[in-house]
């Protein structure tokens, strides 16, 4: 009966093989099959961004993709950002600027912010607000999230300068 397919891809830097039904969304595969519950379901129709992940460095809603579509691709979820010893600067910035309340939307915002800062190291406030308009937050009113993104940009730039 089962139409299950094997998918192999890289998730958070690790080579992974998993089984999926062809109609299963990437979000279901991440959460239910792979146990990566950091990506959240808020609407399952692409309106809230709580399931934001990176696929080959592109920001997507995992609820709008099928698991089989990530064959051979490189996926980054919120679980893949911090290393064992320290937070990613985006995560650090959200902690310092209190850019979260209930935290359900937070993984999506953090992944979306990383995608933005990888493309644009010094976004303006307008660019930040425009980029994050695909992620809903019902708690914060967004100001502290925008401040978190600005601090993240600064932390990442400082780190780069430190390397030079």
């Amino acid at each position: 009966m089962s139409n299950k397919r094997v998918v192999s891809s890289t998730i958070n830097g690790q080579q992974v093989e998993f089984l999926t039904e062809p109609q299963q969304s990437l979000l279901e595969c991440l959460r239910d099959t792979l146990g990566l519950t950091g990506s959240k379901e808020g609407c399952n129709d692409g309106n809230c961004g709580a399931c934001s992940v990176l696929i080959n460095n592109r920001l997507v809603n995992a609820c709008l993709m099928l698991g089989i579509e990530i064959e051979g691709k490189d996926v980054v979820t919120v679980e893949g950002l911090a290393d064992v010893h320290e937070l990613h600067p985006v995560q650090e910035a959200f902690v310092l600027e209190d850019g979260l309340q209930c935290g359900y939307c937070t993984p999506g915002f953090i992944v979306a912010t990383k995608a933005l800062l990888d493309k644009n190291a010094n976004p303006t406030e307008d660019e930040i607000r425009f980029w994050l308009a695909g992620n809903l937050c019902r708690c914060t009113g967004y100001d502290k999230i925008v401040r978190s993104v600005r601090l993240a940009s600064q932390l990442m730039n400082d780190a780069k300068e430190g390397l030079q």
Binding site: S39, T77, L81, L136, K144
Partner: protein, 734 residues
């Protein structure tokens, strides 16, 4: 030693939340868990003649299908047990065979997978008899209206009256009278985490439900009632909660999860049961903010003194009571605002209809009442040619004021201070004209203020429990705080830890929190009514004082357990409304600047100043977060969020058609100004903050739109279509 309160401390749950490690109910997994789906009524008013589960039961993977006859005591409710757990024939409760709104729950399907549960749910055959659908509360109030409940002779749940002074006699002394009919809309909570949970039998044999709620002990009580068990046989745990805002004050999946686990246990199946609602199920399945119709007639003398206020208001409570009677009390209080008015008459009704139930939502009746009251004051000022801040100076309450309830306001009334601070900081009255704007853009300034109670009102029992353990030898090395208060995202647990550290005089790192588990804590009340920091702070201080005494007597660990009970409030007198309604209040004033595009009807909010007296900000960055978040929720309520319900069917049950603000739809600037005038009853002088900034926003924004366009909008959300219609009417007439 440095203070642990009054400082920005990072949330204690921040690390888990930014790394994705925090576990919300839907994240709780178990390899042997079963999945549950609910069959909803999908009809606004209909009787179930019979349910045929034969075909559904034979679906592969189905473990159990439960209907009304499987519920031991088939009723529940926070105030009044008027709702069946499952609607259908064969239960022990009269009237439980009737669905009264589309979201009534009919059957539970437990299966090996969610897909199997969905398939079987869709194979359940229900034989319905449709009944007359009543969705207009005014129709529902009529004596000959069809009754939602056979056992009742009226659809009116509650009628509150205030009779103070002589309203009829006062009109002749009024220079101006303003009469308006206001309508406020439904609002959906739209917390990002849809309802979900997991249930199982714990190692002590208790039915255990892990779920997002606002009050573990109330949820425990309601589960025990419906299952015919004692509360000790039931355990409720809150994992991470993905927002609440009042929307989780009434239960959603708690009882049905417990019912499923109890049923499986009786059959010898010991596997956890999990349920996750879709966004659509969440929007159809839980209550909304009440829509209100408010008919207000107010009069003032030529010097601006408000002499009389007459208010008639009707709330659409929807199909079940939930907290409607309590919300109505607060709306009754709010409908004449923070003003000293000698002659007041209020008639307020909450009425059953076949719409989605209405209930708690940040502000709890306050935003509706305040919209009418503040708009009335702004209109009176406009008619008299008196500035709106000056108008307030002439009418606001102060310490010692005796309001419409004929009781003295609790000491620490600071509405005048917040109004003056907001006026000062925004250079009110604002007279400069902006000549740089294009001809289609009109700029306007609006002002409003409000009070909001801290704690349960009108005699509802109020208490908060805490237990503290002090560990160590000669010095306190470690402190364990047990507290049941819910962390819904507002930061409650972080301020609990701060307040415990402050009271014990130890670093924050020494505090360990055991929270929100009914097996480990006693009742601390709900995360609602802007009460939790206030009540928890008082309970923590009491527990720490007792623990420190025991520490002095060399008890190790030294334990202090304390139940804080604030001063008793009283219920409204049924004829006059006389009572002592609230423990205390927080106060707020707001100034809003808008630009209205009179060609498109689009409103841009340029700047918001919110001045809030919070008594003492335990964690200022979190307090600012509450103000910013409340303003943006109120912004959505006023401009954007348009719940469409037709004949009892909700037509906007997705985020694609029920729009909440994104980062682009918010005010361009929100300035949160925190004032700290001590409340004599508050721990460290604090009041509350969660709801207050929501209240004045709609009337302040609508006053700004009036300033910009000359048009008073008495109904919102101000979607562009409504704004344009208003502009057209003012230009071309009706």
């Amino acid at each position: 030693m440095t203070s642990k309160i009054g400082v920005d401390v990072s949330r204690i749950d921040a690390l888990d939340k930014v790394t994705g490690k925090a576990l919300f109910p839907a994240d709780l997994m178990s390899s042997d868990m079963l999945h549950m789906k609910i069959l909803f009524a999908g009809r606004p008013h209909a009787r179930v003649r019979s349910i045929d589960v034969g075909k559904a039961e034979s679906c592969p993977g189905v473990i159990a299908i439960l209907t009304a006859s499987d519920v031991p005591v088939n009723e529940y409710g926070l105030i009044n047990c008027d709702q069946p757990v499952l609607v259908g024939p064969g239960s022990n409760k009269k009237g439980a065979d009737t669905a009264r709104f589309v979201g009534d729950q009919i059957a539970l399907v437990v299966a090996e997978t969610e897909e199997a549960a969905i398939k079987a749910r869709d194979d359940i055959l229900v034989d319905w008899v449709d009944l007359p659908v009543i969705t207009d509360p005014y129709e529902a109030m009529k004596p000959d209206a069809p009754m939602l409940f056979e056992s009742r002779d009226s659809n009116i749940i509650k009628h509150n009256k205030i009779r103070a002074g002589d309203v009829e006699g006062a009109w002749k002394n009024c220079e101006v009278i303003v009469e308006s009919i206001y309508h406020t809309p439904w609002q959906e909570h739209a917390y990002l985490q849809p309802e979900a949970g997991i249930s199982y039998i714990d190692s002590d044999g208790r039915i255990t439900v892990e779920v997002a709620g606002q009050w573990v002990h109330e949820e425990q009580k309601q589960i025990a009632h419906a299952l015919g068990l004692t509360v000790d046989q039931v355990r409720v745990i809150h994992p991470a909660i993905g927002g609440a805002f009042g929307g989780r004050e009434d239960v959603s999946v708690q009882i049905v999860l417990a019912l499923a686990s109890w049923h499986l246990h009786e059959r010898g199946i010991s596997r956890p049961v999990k349920i996750v609602w879709s966004r659509e199920e969440s929007i159809l399945g839980h209550h909304k903010r009440h829509p209100y119709n408010i008919h207000a007639k107010w009069g003032a003398a030529s010097d601006g003194s408000i002499l009389a206020a007459e208010v008639k208001m009707v709330a659409d409570a929807g199909a079940y009571e939930y907290t409607s009677a309590k919300v109505l009390g607060n709306a009754t209080l709010q409908s004449t605002g923070p003003y000293d008015i000698p002659n007041v008459s209020v008639d307020a009704y909450a009425v059953y209809t076949n719409n989605v139930p209405s209930g708690a939502f940040r502000g709890f009746g306050g935003p509706q009442g305040a919209f009418a009251a503040e708009s009335q004051v702004n209109k009176l000022a406009d008619k008299l040619g008196i500035d709106v801040v000056e108008m307030r100076r002439r009418n606001l309450i102060s310490d010692g004021s005796i309001g419409q309830f004929k009781s003295v306001y609790p000491e620490g009334v600071t509405i005048r201070q917040v109004v003056e601070e907001c006026a000062d900081r925004s250079n009110w009255p604002i007279t400069q004209v902006d000549n740089s704007l294009p001809s289609n853009i009109r700029k306007g300034y609006g002002f409003a203020c409000a009070l909001k109670n801290v704690g349960f009102s009108f005699g509802f029992p109020e208490e908060c429990w805490a237990k503290v353990e002090l560990h160590g030898g000669s010095e306190i090395e470690r402190v364990v705080l047990h507290h049941a208060g819910a962390e819904c995202g507002q930061g409650a647990h972080t301020v609990f830890v701060q307040m415990t550290a402050e009271a014990c005089g130890v670093p924050i790192e020494c505090i360990q929190l055991e929270a929100a588990d009914s097996a480990l804590t006693k009742n601390s009340g709900s995360a609602s009514a802007s009460r939790l920091t206030f009540m928890a702070g008082n309970s923590i201080r009491g527990a720490v004082d007792l623990a420190l005494e025991n520490w002095q007597s060399e008890e190790r660990p030294a334990i202090g357990e304390y139940k804080f009970v604030p001063r008793q409030t009283t219920a409204l007198d049924t004829e006059t409304g006389e009572c002592d309604p609230n423990i205390t209040y927080g106060y707020v004033a707001q100034r809003v600047i808008v630009e209205v595009d009179i060609e498109t009807g689009h409103i841009r909010v340029v700047d918001v100043m919110s001045v809030d007296d919070v008594g003492r900000a335990i964690n200022p960055i979190q307090v600012a977060g509450q103000i910013e978040g409340a303003v943006v929720q109120a912004h959505g309520y006023t401009l954007l969020e348009n719940l469409v319900s037709r004949d009892g069917y909700i037509e906007t049950a997705q985020f694609s058609n029920y729009l909440i603000p994104t980062s682009l739809d918010v005010p361009e600037r929100v300035e949160a100004v925190i004032l700290e005038y001590s409340d004599p009853q508050g721990p460290w002088g604090l009041r509350g903050v969660a709801e207050m900034p929501f209240l004045p926003y709609a009337p302040a924004l609508i006053a700004a739109v009036h300033d910009a366009t000359g048009i008073w909008f008495d109904e919102f959300p101000l979607i562009p279509e409504r704004v344009l219609r208003g502009i057209d009417h003012s230009v071309y007439g009706e």
